[in-house]
């Protein structure tokens, strides 16, 4: 079987029944093996649960099982005859914004859980906000616990109306009861008024091919292959992952930040030459001219080049206990290039409860999301994150601890 890969993130808290939903997806698609099932049956009994607690499947670490909470992003796989799924399970408590940003960064689709009894609440708005700033292309809202809302179409319609005000990308809404399995894998008999697909069918059929960034060729050079062996004496290949556009032999190339020009001599893999390469393929590009190119350089389309920036405004999710303050120095890793940066200005911070911007905060605390003006020690070739999720993204690293302390998305270049 050769199927497409769909990466999805689930947003919601334990109370929304998210772990139960994931357990249900895995169970109903027969991804749960006999030994795992025996294990959770036994653990459920030991904990005194009166039903087989499918949530236990996803609670991996000992501390989580003891406390009954999910503390970190977990990644798991499932497969159907139509598609292969990679799921990032991000905890939804307020203090875990960091985990949700992490899970959403690689997602093609986000499933946001809403408790049918509570409808669109502050947490829902927060999830909507995070998935939209991370530019997750498809949003699906699971209105869960419909059994506790009397399977009511009126209630569902009301929630749909509220959701439509949030401005979500490619919004789909599905009424559901994860506990009873309604509209997860099998269509619900309790809600004959819903004529859309159950969640799994929706995930299997949503169109992904158009999400790929096929405009604006971008190729950050990751590694230079220079065998210098007898067979490949003059070979010089630039290895990397395609971050934008479709690359063909003969394409004109602008090398950044040097600004030199060349042409693609060949696009190849270890198995031989390719007619073309597109995101996210890992390939090797050879250039027609013998010019100096090394890791951290970006090959780009000369007609639609990225901006070479020394200063930029970015939305930053701060992930460290130590706050970010004006004048703070951090390392920036953008594609394959690392530079230093200083915070020139904290432009604004979002109140995660009201989603209102407060200008000129004194600092960004752990889990804060704000707009930051950075001055860079060396230039970076960037695009707005809205145009390219790879060349518009960067991480911030604390040079003393080596920890990853922030996630950045380029807004505009000054």
């Amino acid at each position: 079987m050769q199927a497409e890969l769909l990466r999805l993130v689930t947003c919601g808290s334990v109370d929304d029944g998210k772990s139960t939903l994931i357990g249900r997806l895995l169970y109903d698609t027969k991804q749960i093996f006999v030994d795992q099932m025996e294990h959770i049956e036994e653990t459920s009994r030991r904990r005194g649960d009166t039903y087989v607690n499918l949530a236990l499947l996803t609670d991996g670490l000992r501390a989580e099982r003891e406390q009954g909470i999910t503390i970190d992003v977990a990644y798991r796989s499932f497969v159907t005859p139509r598609r292969r799924f990679q799921l990032a399970d991000a905890p939804g408590h307020v203090q875990y914004t960091r985990n949700m940003v992490t899970g959403a960064s690689t997602a093609d689709l986000a499933v946001i859980l809403v408790d049918a009894r509570n409808g669109v609440v502050e947490q829902t708005r927060r999830h909507a906000y995070i998935t939209s700033i991370l530019r997750v292309p498809h949003i699906t809202v699971a209105v869960n616990k419909m059994d506790l809302a009397g399977w009511s179409q009126e209630r569902y319609d009301e929630i749909v109306r509220d959701l439509e005000t949030l401005g979500l990308a490619d919004l789909h809404v599905i009424p559901m009861s994860a506990l009873h399995g309604d509209n997860v894998v099998d269509a619900s008999e309790n809600m004959p008024w819903y004529d859309g697909p159950p969640l799994l069918e929706h995930l299997e059929t949503i169109e992904l091919a158009f999400d790929r960034n096929l405009d604006g060729r971008r190729f950050p050079v990751q590694w230079v292959i220079r065998p210098m062996s007898d067979d490949h004496h003059d070979y010089r290949g630039y290895a990397g992952s395609v971050a934008g556009g479709v690359w063909h032999p003969g394409d004109e190339v602008l090398v950044l930040p040097s600004g030199r020009h060349s042409r693609v001599e060949a696009v190849e893999s270890a198995d031989g030459p390719l007619d073309s390469a597109l995101p996210p393929q890992s390939v090797t590009i050879r250039l027609a001219d013998d010019i100096d190119v090394s890791r951290g350089d970006m090959l780009a389309d000369p007609l639609e080049p990225p901006v070479v920036a020394r200063e930029l405004d970015a939305r930053v999710c701060w992930m460290s206990e130590r706050p970010l303050e004006p004048r703070s120095k951090v390392a920036v890793k953008h594609t394959t290039r690392s530079v230093r940066a200083v915070v020139d200005e904290l432009v604004s911070v979002v109140d995660i409860h009201t989603l209102a911007d407060t200008p000129m905060p004194e600092r960004l605390e752990l889990n804060d999301i704000g707009v930051v003006r950075l001055r860079l020690s060396e230039p970076l070739a960037v695009d707005p994150y809205a145009d390219n999720r790879e060349t518009g993204a960067f991480i911030l690293i604390d040079e003393a601890s080596n920890d990853t302390v922030g996630a950045g998305m380029v807004l505009q270049v000054s």
């Binding site: 079987m1 199927a3 497409e4 890969l5 027969k30 093996f33 006999v34 030994d35 795992q36 294990h39 996803t58 991996g60 670490l61 000992r62 501390a63 503390i71 970190d72 990644y75 798991r76 796989s77 497969v79 990679q86 960091r98 985990n99 940003v101 992490t102 960064s105 690689t106 158009f210 096929l214 990751q222 590694w223 292959i225 220079r226 065998p227 062996s229 067979d231 070979y235 290949g237 290895a239 992952s241 479709v246 893999s269 270890a270 198995d271 597109l278 996210p280 393929q281 890992s282 992930m319 890793k333 394959t336 790879e390 993204a393 960067f394 991480i395 690293i397 080596n402 990853t404 996630a407």
Partner: protein, 304 residues
Amino acid sequence: MSAAARTLTHLDDLEAEAIHIFREVAAELERPVLLFSGGKDSIVLLRLAEKAFRPGGFPFPVMHVDTGHNFPEVVEFRDRRVEELGERLVVASVQESIDQGRVVEETGPRASRNRLQTTTLLDAIEEHQFDAAIGGARRDEERARAKERIFSFRDDFGQWNPRAQRPELWNVYNARVRKGEHVRVFPISNWTELDVWQYVAREGLELPSIYFAHEREVFRRDGMLYASSGFVERMNGEDPFVASVRFRTVGDMTCTGGVLSHAGTIAAVVDEIAATRVTERGETRADDRFTEAAMEDRKRVGYF
């Protein structure tokens, strides 16, 4: 066909991700090493390393932590494969760790060198000053693994702290380590057992013969079938018999069980795995069965 209409399969996608990870390790760390067990996952890693670096050589050596209790088929395969690739092989020996008094051999019918490997591995990392160890672990193997990062940071003592993991965003990996620390890197984190077999089939990779059904003398213990060998002491009632078996994982002979099978080809194995109802480790690895948090405990102290 237009590029927009061209579909990348899940294997294309997973392969691209793994190659990207390989190149990041090589570029960002000074002394990486590729851990090779002779098992299917590390055989896939070797293929992915070729895809990442050919026509150049690997920018790291290949290291096998040898318990001395291996299936002979696997050691033969290891030597031949590394020779074919023309790459460097480092062997770290558990027997030497025992001889040097670094670890104490377990005794009795349940003795295994599996747990002793951790010391041998950490000693070798220190001796060679490796700052990155690339391994074939997958997130679908076990619940603790599901939460581990692709670049999984280890402290001075080789320990993993699941509460203090670096967030991992997009495909931008933070590979920074201080002297004495190292990072474990798992390029096929997001692959499943079935993905690995499908990739083996697609790439036409050779595997050690024990992965395919063969007649072998085995005995039954804890619901698993162990190969009869000089390394495992049988207990009362553990009578040997001959059966057609294959192995789903390749570990030390003292902790790896076989499954009854007649699958003699890759295609037949893929069919069996697609239909199986027991996880790879649940079926064949005694080392995960000790406690509920067995894998988490071993990882904390520096296991693979």
